[in-house]
């Protein structure tokens, strides 16, 4: 149960145990914050083989605390890849057929340049000296990675939650390079409530005395308590009231009666504490601040004069959106408003709402209806793209 301890993530930040592409001073990353990031690096994983026509590439975009290890054992946690139920040889996204790419986002902490990476100017981690990163910045970096592979058009870009935001950004920024797009459990903007939850998480991190204004590396410390609390609060939003009650109810943890104290009397408390503790072993606190901020800043309609349909004007990309009935972080209405915008733009769009009580995190789980939808969509897109099975 115990994951490798601190320090490990720091190594992964500079020397990831996955391929890494380094961009020198001649190829800076233009950031929405108005500055250039240079040098910078992108850590990524690939699975399968790029065909001769370079037409079978699928880009997977990870969520808030995800990473590039989508379909291989995670080097930090030792757990299976976060979407191994979906991606792999013979799976729905068959790596015997498709060339799957997944990269750690800019601002992350598993090898792409982020606040835990060493700032070449100081020889110390960037910390808060790294400019705020946006979803569009992440996508711009991914585009440079895709260009590196010589891929002119991605067969599909898919992802859930923050990954879904990247999918939407890809389809909007580079429509000619996205044949099909599959944003799952996401929105075209972060709602006020979602920003509120993120702010609670950030304040928890910053309230931890070990945060040291983001310079905890200088003190050989990490704001573990603050980050754990942030994760606990966030984790509740990934589930649903019904699922929590089904799993935990008011069951007591290793005891017969209430203790009349503040121990973890209830199973749900113990569960959340465990979630918080294991999270700090694999994630950098500053990176958590940057990741949450990137989602808060995302508002695709605002980037297009307030009209979401204009973000997709003239698009030829085939879209499929998926939402889950019990997702209160990105409720179905968020997906539906994207669907309406795509309709208005005359786009080809499918939209599936899946009934489940597993909340937002359903997109990461074994959901047969989700897999059926992805399978049908990818299959028909592959036929349209002329990819043989």
């Amino acid at each position: 149960m115990a994951a490798p301890r601190a320090g490990k993530t720091n190594n992964e930040a500079d020397q990831p145990s996955s391929p890494v592409l380094r961009f020198g001073p001649d190829k800076p990353l233009k950031l929405d914050a108005g500055t250039l990031l240079s040098p910078f690096q992108i850590a990524y994983q690939t699975y399968g083989t790029l065909n001769d026509a370079r037409s079978n590439a699928i880009l997977v975009c990870h969520a808030l605390t995800g990473d590039q290890h989508v379909a291989n054992t995670n080097p930090v946690t030792g757990k299976p890849g976060w979407w191994e139920v979906l991606i792999g040889p013979g799976r729905i996204i068959d790596t015997d057929r498709f060339f799957v790419i997944c990269s750690n986002v800019i601002g992350g902490c598993l090898g792409s340049t982020g606040p835990a990476s060493t700032n070449p100017a100081t020889g110390k981690p960037y910390g808060l000296d790294l400019p705020v990163i946006t979803i569009r910045d992440m996508v711009r970096a991914q585009k440079m990675l895709i260009d590196h592979f010589g891929i002119e058009k991605l067969f599909c870009v898919l992802g859930g939650s923050m990954g879904g935001m990247q999918v939407l950004e890809w389809a909007s920024s580079y429509p000619e390079q996205v044949f099909s797009a599959l944003p799952i459990a996401t929105g075209a903007r972060h709602s006020s409530q979602n920003i509120a939850f993120h702010e609670v998480g950030r304040q928890a991190v910053m309230a931890d005395p070990e945060w040291h204004g983001g310079k905890y590396f200088d003190y050989g410390k990490r704001p573990e308590k603050g980050l754990a609390v942030a994760r606990m609060a966030a984790h509740i939003t990934y589930l649903s009231e019904a699922a929590l009650h089904r799993k935990f109810g008011r069951n007591l943890q290793d005891r017969e009666t209430l203790t009349f104290g503040f121990d973890a009397d209830f199973q749900i408390e113990s569960y959340l504490r465990h979630q918080g503790m294991t999270f700090v072993d694999r994630f950098d606190a500053n990176s958590y601040l940057y990741m949450t901020r990137s989602m808060d800043y995302f508002d695709l309609a605002a980037d297009h004069g307030g009209r979401l349909a204009d973000a997709f004007a003239g698009t030829k990309t085939r879209f499929c959106l998926v939402s889950f009935t019990s997702d209160w972080l990105f409720p179905t209405e968020e997906s539906r408003s994207i669907v309406h915008a795509l309709n208005a733009a005359g786009a080809s769009v499918s939209f599936v709402e899946i009934e489940t009580d597993r909340g937002h995190d359903a997109f990461l789980l074994d959901e047969p209806e989700l897999f059926a939808a992805i399978n049908g969509f990818i299959g028909s897109a592959a036929r349209a793209r002329g990819l043989t099975s």
Partner: protein
Amino acid sequence: MSVNGSQRVDLEVVANLIPPRSRVLDVGSGDGSLLELLQDTKQVDGRGLELSQRGVNECVARGLSVIQGDADKDLEFYPDKGFDFVVLSQTLQATRNPKLVLDELLRIGDRAIVSFPNFGHWRVRLSLFVNGRMPVTKDLPYSWYDTPNIHFCTIRDFVNLCEELGATVEKATALDGNGQKIGLSMPWWFWNFFGQQAVFLLKR
């Protein structure tokens, strides 16, 4: 949302009105039968709008481009003349506001194809006349209190509505109980009496 699933004899008739490689929106696409037929035989660029989530999920799993939505609420999001054909098959009578829906179809599509069960069919008339109760026939199997068909009309009613909306009837076909076309030269009253279903091709 196609309400009378068992009696889709109109599908072939509808499909024959659509030339290859058209852009088609099927409103109330049900299980996707028409879209699949059109995609396989006419290579159309087809989209669907369907009320039932189960229908939608099945369609998408079969590779069709379908979204969950309501003909009464969601047509407003489609741009003017975004499609060559908008099809409303066996669904008009189940909408809340058939006039508005038809108006939207004519706005969104260069042409609209509408099929519906004819409430003026002699069997319906006979049933009401003889029994004095709301007709329940083999093809209209619901009781008045649980029917999704809240806005039945006759062929003549529909022709009047088209006139009101300034739509031109480019082609009209009435089908008898066996799904056979009724001779073209017959007058409206004859169709209205013997047509069990009607398929209209409209333009505005």
